[in-house]
Symmetry: C2
Subunit: 144 residues, 2 copies
């Protein structure tokens, strides 16, 4: 797994430095997607600028992918390190639930071939209330 990481760096002519490793491990160890602000805040030893540059490189090398949770961008490990999936986002407590749906993935194929379009990536996200928050709310707006 980390072998795979160093390969990516070697193959693309980049150096696997300590700060880059640290950011990778930090994201890997989190069970939630993280914002850049999170990573900066929780890694005070590392310069903010280096974190920006690292994330930007990781995006380019497809080591991480951006998950947008409505208002901001969060990052999590990408495909070789973390299988492709989507999220249910609770707008009240912020809880993220992973969705793994083959049917959704095949729908991407369907929709793109219908439109003569070559898909490279896709994003899908459902916002609403998780089961826990649902019980705490008196009236339920719904407009999916």
């Amino acid at each position: 797994m980390d072998k795979e990481l160093s390969n990516i760096f070697n193959d693309t002519g980049h150096r696997l430095t300590q700060p880059r490793m640290a950011v990778f491990n930090f994201i890997k160890s989190s069970d939630l997607p993280l914002s850049i602000a999170d990573i900066v805040r929780l890694n005070p030893a590392m310069d903010k600028v280096s974190i920006y540059r690292t994330i930007s490189l990781f995006k380019k090398l497809h080591i991480v992918v951006a998950v947008n949770n409505g208002w901001k961008q969060l990052y999590e490990l990408a495909s070789p390190f973390n299988p492709h999936h989507h999220h249910l986002v609770c707008t009240k407590c912020g809880k993220l639930t992973e969705i793994h749906s083959k049917k959704l993935e095949s729908m991407v194929e369907e929709l793109t071939s219908e439109n003569d379009f070559h898909p490279v990536s896709h994003h899908f996200e459902i916002n609403g209330l998780c089961s826990n928050c649902l019980t705490l709310v008196p009236d339920l707006p719904s407009q999916p």
Copy 2:
């Protein structure tokens, strides 16, 4: 249609002012979703701050919805003014193609009920190459 707009304002205790009307009509007349920067740039008579405040109000009143085209947020009219849909986004030329898929909408129902989640809104977007750009590109990355 504009009747409906003034109703929304009346019912929620807001005033339908000239600048708000102008922003509404501007978005309505566009056949593409617009960024705030677009709206600011193309409406030099209106103050930038007022445009921010107007868009923010429109979002709150569900007059517009945000479409994220990968890196930035774009806005287009929401449901009563423009039926719900999603987009194929060409990452080369920026072209947006609307997708109207009942199957996708029912999948939202399915995925949320499976997870005991109450959906409020959802976002879906496919990035890739449109048929036109496809013919111009020698090699084709694909990772849906």
